[in-house]
Symmetry: C2
Subunit: 359 residues, 2 copies
């Protein structure tokens, strides 16, 4: 669970700490390193977390999984949630920015769905409070799935199997097939997409042998250099908003100037170029990096971050150690059986491939 | 297995039989009906069939599954085999014709991958002898996955996990990462995508109670009206090539005149508008119908077939009975765990979204 207090305490602790970039690679004392890390991070729980006000049931998870893989939520019947949040490749699509309806590209890199439940809010700018609200976005975005709530409900109501499954997932509701319930079912399925068991988590839990010396040096550097000021908590990030370029704005190739980030949500000047710090869970699987998707190499991404956020030039061996540590954040990938979806009925809306002319 | 002899015998038997379209719905004698049906059809085997010269191993199936779901086999990294042969929706995409690279559409409706192994050959025009040859087509087609063998091998060779898996799947080969082996692994996985246990198969095997009276009347009509002349064997079709419009060519809305079918393969005048009779296994799941994908309703499709192929006008109740029978051809859908794919490496080719201008 997110603990705001834990984040605040960690941030203060880090502000007080002296960055130790040029430290000698003195042998790691595991007890000290783990104690420091435990102040900042938590393992991904092995117990299924539950969204508030949206209890997890087997029926809802199964329905949510069907909807997650359901291409008929898009007007073309070509894109499902899984297209851009592919469960086989780290919950992302491996593209700079996603491709959607009519081969249009979206403005930002698709964030991973894995462990997204633990983020403070959803989307790079945090404009959706939770996964249910998030799920409604891409379904309706003209450059993504290009559907409407009405169309989605027409599809679902045309398929008796879905009507039945909504009734089971939302018992006691007179009309359970609603767009809100579509979002709630997807939220519940996505809450199951967590990746426990990362080697880092095993280390946090007391297993010294699971990380090698370089990875431990990387963890030490990650904490002492300041990376963990933003990337902390259960998701090693995802907990707060920060300017991209605290110290020095990266070039427009990496930080395009026309995307002002959270400013579009809050309309507050201090939120220009502010984004939610991404979770670094499974970061070795989720290239390309940053909201712009412009950096493909994790080593380069760490270098960019050091300069932009910390005003530090890390040495090659230091970056390598941090990258080695980041690889230990890869957890057990979800074990998902591909869902069987109901066949079209005579009243199912037909796929629409037409792309409206841009204004 | 396909038995050419069985097909030939069946066809002769049917030519000798008198069509009995206007038969009274006399009660079905199960022993007679089953005996007649057993002459024409075989159940989907519950034992895994094996492609010739391409032995099935666990390692090859697992590799083939990864490749089947691998979007990086397309130049955009957006399309996998599963995009158009979606295992959740009957092994098809539910589109008239598939959408591929650059939002281009292909010329024909995507045939189901389920039980495709039992077809005499692959594609609507039979231009690929087997599933391995078939698999190479869409990967390279400019309007589908738009890749090249070289690109595919660059992707796979950039990912050590794939190199390892090819070595395990093709032991003893000096350089196992080849385009031929990509196709072979996919073929082996696809050979596992069979759907045994259809109610029709249970009936063939002796269970009278599994079909209702209407479905049995439908089976009787399906055989006696001549449908089974083309749609017979283990796949209830898929075994031979026939003109679309044996008796009367359908309109250009259903049979576009610029697609001459198998003529493009054989360049033989008698092969104009000749197509492989599709398997009717799982036909209730695979709308829209025909190579053109122009008919969405199974009842309408049966009507079109009766007119075009048999020169018969079936009565409404007869069509309904046949449609009821066709629904009994839905088998157990494959139980597939979504594969976890290797993350990109620094040498993995980047996705290419550019669409070359048409000539």
């Amino acid at each position: 669970m997110k603990s705001k207090l834990a984040y605040a305490v960690s941030a203060v602790a880090l502000l007080l700490a002296t960055p130790a970039l040029a430290q000698d690679a003195t042998p790691i004392n595991d007890e000290e390193l783990r104690a420091d890390a435990q102040l900042l991070f938590e393992p991904i729980p092995t117990v299924q977390p539950a969204p508030e006000g949206n209890p997890i049931t087997r029926e809802k998870v199964e329905l949510g999984k069907m909807l997650f893989f359901e291409p008929r939520l898009s007007s073309s019947h070509l894109f499902s949630c899984n297209t851009c949040h592919n469960l086989g490749i780290g919950g992302v699509d491996g593209l700079e920015v996603s491709v959607g309806h009519g081969w249009q590209t979206g403005p930002r890199n698709a964030p991973t769905v894995f462990n997204a439940f633990f983020n403070i809010a959803q989307f790079w700018d945090g404009r959706a409070a939770d996964l249910a609200e998030q799920a409604k976005g891409p379904i309706q975005a003209a450059v993504e799935m290009n559907a409407t709530p009405d169309r989605v409900l027409s599809v679902l109501n045309s398929l008796p199997q879905y009507q039945q499954r909504f009734a089971l997932a939302f018992p006691g509701e007179a009309d359970p097939v609603t767009f809100d319930n579509v979002a709630k079912a997807i939220e519940v399925f996505e809450a199951t997409l967590i990746t426990p068991g990362a080697r880092f988590d095993q280390y946090l839990e007391g297993n010294n042998a699971v990380l090698n010396e370089t990875e431990k040096q990387g963890l030490r550097l990650f904490m002492d250099s300041g990376c963990a000021s933003c990337h902390n908590g259960v998701n090693v990030g995802g907990g707060e908003y920060y300017a991209f370029g605290v110290v020095e704005q990266p070039g427009a190739d990496i930080l395009p100037r026309d995307d002002k980030g959270r400013f579009a949500v809050t309309e507050t000047a201090t939120d220009e170029y502010v984004f939610r710090a991404p979770s670094l869970r499974n970061v070795a699987l989720t290239a390309p990096y940053f909201h712009s998707g412009k950096v493909w190499d994790l080593t380069q991404a760490v270098g960019v971050m050091a300069t932009a956020q910390l005003g530090a030039e890390l040495e090659g061996t230091e970056v390598e150690a941090i990258v080695a540590f980041l690889h230990t954040l890869t957890g057990e990938q979800p074990d998902v059986t591909y869902p069987i979806l109901p066949p079209n009925s005579s009243t199912t809306p037909r796929p629409e491939l037409i792309v409206p002319a841009a204004n």
